[in-house]
């Protein structure tokens, strides 16, 4: 229970001009879907597949919407509650993923409305899909949830396969190439499935262009990440969580590429002139994993009051670190390229995991690498009541950072849809105390003669 209603900023005032433009892409996605609905174009509800499925579906003329993203949206505009209640009434345990329960509740409403988007649907709603694209990567919810939608719509579900071997196993003879072969074979199967479903052939040239464009966009996005290593930090998580949308959901869109070039320019400017995102940067923190969408302003507050800059965050939202040239040599088949891009996402930090003996490579090792690259003073760990995959490894990451790099973590509970869980006042006082903690560990790193 809290007595004082401390004034906590809800919405974040972003520090980049370009970040303020990024909202355009979110709207564009929803509008395109609704337009597609009117034009009778096929629509896919897709999980985030780290570009494994999206490009192919789009190349087949499908318009995609992302129910996970819609969950975050409904929560942010305080419209998720009703959906959650319906999902509960349907018998889905309240411990399941908040995004899933939001989507299930919405799907029920859609079905009750004869699959016409309800008038009052948040953000214009999601139109009934032609296909559900689930993913086995990162978490079980992301294929079980789409399977569960069968109660509300007779729509086929395709489950994308993305191998998730352990770090040790990744380096076993031939395993890597076997994994890639598996992905490519599945992509062929996926295309075959789509061609049958949509009664048209895949235009491989178009797909190849989209993949090329995607590689370019992801490249700039990564270069922006590189710029962020600068001290003081030129942009912060509050900015990233807006600018990520285009590369994450629309990397094949030339507009996204153009946008990132502008982001790059703006950030570069600030780095060259040593302009920090926050005026008095004293501490540099990382954030893991999914943010409290509804109160991002909180990070403005701790930036202002304690000089905390959120310098890097949310491994899963980031563009891949570029694939080594030799691995791409002579590869032209777009499916081979897609396989390497998506597989890269889940294996790119395996070398770090080996270096620090800190498996798993996904959701974990990145933070050790980043702590060094971004000279981080601490990790803001955000365990979520209803998103286990983004929570499983947090304590482990906390331990690894502490043991290997003398970087402490502050743990603040929250949720992706139940906004009440994140208690901004409690969080604020924890961070206030954590400032002392970061000072202490700085001394420890000095004693240990570490680089930062």
């Amino acid at each position: 229970m809290q007595s004082e209603k401390k004034q906590i900023t809800k919405k974040s005032a972003k520090t980049l001009h370009t970040a303020r433009e990024a909202g355009y892409f979110g709207k564009k996605m929803l509008e395109n879907a609704l337009k597609a609905r009117q034009e009778g174009k096929p629509i896919g509800w897709s999980m985030v597949t780290w570009w494994e499925g999206d490009l192919i579906a789009k190349a087949m003329g499908m318009e995609l919407v992302f129910p996970e993203n819609y969950g975050a949206f409904c929560a942010a505009v305080r419209r998720a509650e009703r959906h959650l209640d319906i999902s509960g009434a349907e018998g889905f345990p309240s411990t399941l993923c908040g995004y899933a329960r939001n989507c299930i509740g919405y799907a029920k409403l859609l079905a009750d409305n004869k699959h016409q988007v309800p008038e009052d649907a948040p953000g214009g709603g999601l139109p009934k899909p032609t296909l559900l694209i689930g993913s086995g990567a990162a978490c079980d919810a992301r294929y079980k949830w789409f399977q569960a939608l069968g109660r509300y719509m007779d729509v086929p579900v395709w489950t994308m396969e993305l191998p998730q071997t352990g770090v040790r196993e990744y380096y076993l003879d031939g395993n890597r190439s076997q994994n890639l072969r598996f992905i490519v074979r599945e992509l062929h199967a996926f295309i075959g499935f789509l061609e049958k479903l949509l009664g048209k052939k895949m235009d491989y040239d178009r797909l190849a262009e989209m993949v090329a464009q995607t590689l370019k966009t992801l490249r700039v996005a990564y270069e922006v990440d590189l710029l962020r290593r600068a001290v003081p930090s030129p942009m912060v998580s509050q900015d990233f969580w807006s600018v990520m949308i285009p590369h994450f959901y629309l990397p094949d869109d030339p507009e996204a590429y153009a946008f990132y070039q502008r982001v790059y320019e703006e950030v570069k400017q600030k780095v060259d002139n040593k302009v920090g995102a926050i005026p008095n940067e004293k501490y540099r923190m990382m954030f893991s994993e999914l943010p409290p969408w509804h109160s991002l302003g909180f990070f403005d507050d701790i930036g202002r009051d304690f000089g905390i800059a959120m310098v890097i965050e949310s491994w899963n939202y980031h563009a891949i670190t570029p694939i080594p040239e030799q691995e791409l040599e002579g590869i032209t088949d777009p499916l081979e390229l897609i396989a390497r891009i998506s597989y890269r996402k889940f294996t790119e930090y395996n070398d770090t995991a080996v270096k620090y003996d800190a498996a798993p490579g996904f959701f974990n090792a990145a933070y050790l690498r980043w702590a060094e690259d971004y000279r981080a003073d601490g990790l803001f760990a955000h365990p979520l009541m209803s998103c286990r995959p983004a929570t499983y490894t947090l304590l482990h990451t906390k331990n690894c950072l502490e043991d290997r790099l003398k970087v402490p973590s502050v743990v603040v509970e929250g949720d992706i849809v139940d906004l009440r869980v994140f208690n901004a006042e409690e969080a604020y006082s924890k961070v206030e105390a954590f400032v002392e903690t970061m000072d202490h560990y700085r001394e420890l790193r000095e004693k240990a003669a570490m680089a930062w």
């Binding site: 018998g91 345990p93 899933a100 489950t159 352990g166 040790r168 929570t391 499983y392 490894t393 304590l395």
Partner: protein
């Protein structure tokens, strides 16, 4: 080896159940290796073929989770939190190897973290695809080969095809015996209680395959001939869902007037329902069995043209269970935070109620301390059936 003083049949089952590690420790003392594994996906045949003892890692509903909480968040699957907690407390210190599996998120993440804090001389993490597409099966076979090679290099010997076939035969025989055991649960009242069956099944998961089979034979003979059979009860339950590894829970149901006659869980019929086909390349048979015949909602079943068809594809085998074991009620057991079964609840309920079976759904906290409040629920369910 089992001495003369060693009890037989149900008595031995209950001894192993109560002290699961004792035989494994003896085995280790004999200079042989014990391999701990998660869930029912790592092929036991590969371990048996190298004369290793496959040992199923389970939790403990009697032990409150403490040390483990410093490493795994409380929002995750309580069963795997418990497994890890026991590991950190040294309860699995006799393991020579650890075989994790991507059975579900909980199993996978726990396994990946396990190897970081609990060191074994031999480790392997078995990735399991989510579909049973052709490419998926081939991929899974490749993973099994990596597991095989890891085990071989640890054992310092190789698994010849003949040895592997023998191991498959041994385990198939045990699968057959377990199915025979389930036959004894078809009469009304069943010839053995759910709690007895659970003790036997867990015992087989802690014993070398031949000893496990001997135990099963003893139990079957004993049960067929014993005088006092379980009393008649109102309910004949099918248990579906998260595994149950403690008789405190099954006992509570039985005290409440419910017989447990068949369990579709990872300790029940799932690992035993089908034999492994002896294929040209034995690994093909292994791959197909473990990926496709071990039925758990963790593996995606291709959607049907309609919801009804979809349900039939996913759950038709439950109808067989219901008819053959004369089931008149279903207990859907969900260990809190078990997503795999959690997402399945409304669908499985739709299907079973479609068959006219009442379904009791309980999300429980995998703790004997928290069982008592469930008594009223089970009693009311029994009253609803009767």
């Amino acid at each position: 080896m089992t001495t003369a003083s060693e009890p037989k049949g149900l008595a031995r089952a209950s001894k192993v159940y109560r002290n699961r590690a004792y035989r494994a420790r003896e085995w280790k003392a004999e200079g042989k290796k014990v391999m701990g594994y998660f869930c029912c996906y790592p092929p036991l045949e590969l371990m048996t073929a190298l004369d290793m003892l496959p040992f199923r890692i389970l939790g403990d509903m009697d032990e409150s989770i403490s040390v483990g909480d410093g490493y795994l968040p409380t929002v995750m699957c309580i069963f795997y939190r418990s497994c890890f907690d026991l590991g950190m407390k040294g309860r699995y210190d006799f393991l020579d190897g650890f075989i994790g599996a991507h059975a579900c998120d909980g199993a996978e993440r726990t396994a990946l973290i396990w190897t970081h804090y609990i060191k074994s001389p031999c480790n392997f993490h078995l990735d399991i695809p989510h579909t049973s597409h052709v490419a998926a099966r081939d991929f899974f076979k490749e993973q099994l080969i990596h597991l095989k090679e890891t085990l071989e290099s640890f054992a310092g010997s190789t698994i010849g095809e003949a040895r592997l076939r023998d191991a498959i035969a041994l385990h198939n025989r045990q699968r057959g015996l377990v199915r025979d055991l389930y036959e004894l649960r078809k009469p009304d009242p069943p010839l053995l209680t759910g709690s007895e069956a659970l003790q036997v099944l867990i015992a087989t998961m802690c014993l070398p395959v031949q000893e496990g089979s001997t135990l099963l034979e003893e139990v079957i003979a004993e049960v067929k001939t014993r005088r006092e059979t379980p009393e008649k009860k109102i309910g004949r339950l099918l248990i579906w869902g998260s595994l149950i590894d403690n008789t405190a829970l099954t006992g509570l149901m039985e005290e409440s007037g419910l017989h447990i006659v068949v369990e579709d869980t990872a300790i029940g019929v799932r690992p035993f329902r089908h034999d492994i086909e002896q294929t040209q390349d034995p690994l093909d048979g292994l791959a197909r069995h473990y990926l496709e015949e071990v039925k758990c909602p963790r593996t995606f079943v291709e959607t049907g043209a309609s919801y009804g068809e979809d349900l039939e594809n996913r759950f038709h085998y439950l109808r067989e269970f219901a008819t053959h074991w004369k089931v008149n009620g279903v207990y859907a057991n969900i260990i809190r935070n078990c997503d795999i079964h959690g997402y399945e609840v409304p669908a499985v309920r739709d299907y079973l109620e479609g068959l006219g079976l009442p379904v009791l759904i309980i999300e429980q906290d995998y703790s004997t301390a928290a069982l008592e409040p469930l008594r009223t629920r089970f009693q009311a369910f029994a009253e609803a059936i009767g």
